[in-house]
């Protein structure tokens, strides 16, 4: 099994990155190519900041863990984004999407438990 610290940092990193995606989505409705004005778009700035932070965590993990293991595990982020989209953005989930989440959980279990 992967070290506990790695798993915790991975959870934290993917959750932070997913929050970044949600904030980018919230900011996207006020987005245009007038990039200077976008400095006032708090949602976009916060989203980018969260993205950068999760990228830093990812680099930190990449220092010790093999790429072939760590990269598939980042698909945890898809699960958080789906859940946050339902909770925050009130988007609808369908059966195929729930099945997709189940498949990803199985895949992540296989990769991290049997390490």
């Amino acid at each position: 099994m992967l070290p506990l610290l790695t798993l915790i940092l991975l959870l934290l990193g993917t959750i932070i990155g997913s929050c970044g995606s949600i904030y980018l989505k919230l900011g996207a409705k006020d987005f245009n190519l007038n990039l200077i004005k976008q400095i006032r778009n708090k949602n976009i700035i916060l989203g980018l900041f969260l993205f950068a932070f999760s990228a830093m965590l990812y680099m930190f993990l990449l220092k010790t863990e093999p790429l072939s293991i760590l990269y598939p595990l980042t698909s945890l982020g898809y699960i958080w984004v789906a859940l946050f989209s339902v909770a925050v953005l009130k988007e609808k989930m369908s059966l195929p999407k729930w099945l997709g989440i189940a498949c990803i959980i199985v895949g992540i279990f296989l990769i991290s438990y049997f390490h």
Binding site: M59, L62, L67, I69, P72, S94, C103, G107
Partner: protein, 139 residues
């Protein structure tokens, strides 16, 4: 009279055929773009790993880390290609191709990093690919 109507119908049919053809070509080119995009992002991952191996948490250590910058540039090119391929095709249609990157990264880390995950771990990758395709491609 009949001839005219026939001609009009013919023209309309031609138009429709043209449009369908164009849509097909649009889809094809966006798939190609998407595949190139996944190759770029996977190369980006490889270089990020090279960069992470010699990463030092100091200003100098980060700014003199060439593989890290190479990784970021590959990633940036991948992102631009993704946006272009999304211009022509629906997200739900194109998204399953995103998970190709899981295959490329596995291959790249086998050949360039000498990593060899166990068989059970490799089974996890198709699960994730199916899962990501279902989430991105589902309605």
């Amino acid at each position: 009279m009949v001839n005219k109507i026939n001609k009009k119908e013919n023209a309309a049919g031609q138009n429709r055929a043209n449009r369908i053809n164009q849509e097909k070509q649009g889809k094809l080119s966006s798939i190609t773009l998407m595949i190139v995009c996944t190759i770029f992002t996977s190369l980006g991952q490889l270089f990020l790993k090279f960069g992470a191996n010699k990463l030092q948490f100091s200003l100098q250590g980060i700014f003199l880390n060439l593989p890290l910058f190479a990784g970021i540039i590959f990633y940036g090119v991948g992102a631009v290609l993704l946006i272009y391929s999304l211009k022509k095709a629906n997200l739900s249609f194109i998204y399953p191709f995103v998970s190709l990157s899981f295959i490329w990264v596995s291959l790249l880390s086998y050949f360039f990093l000498n990593e060899s995950p166990s068989f059970i771990q490799l089974l996890g990758i198709p699960c994730i690919i199916i899962g990501v395709s279902l989430i991105g491609g589902g309605r």
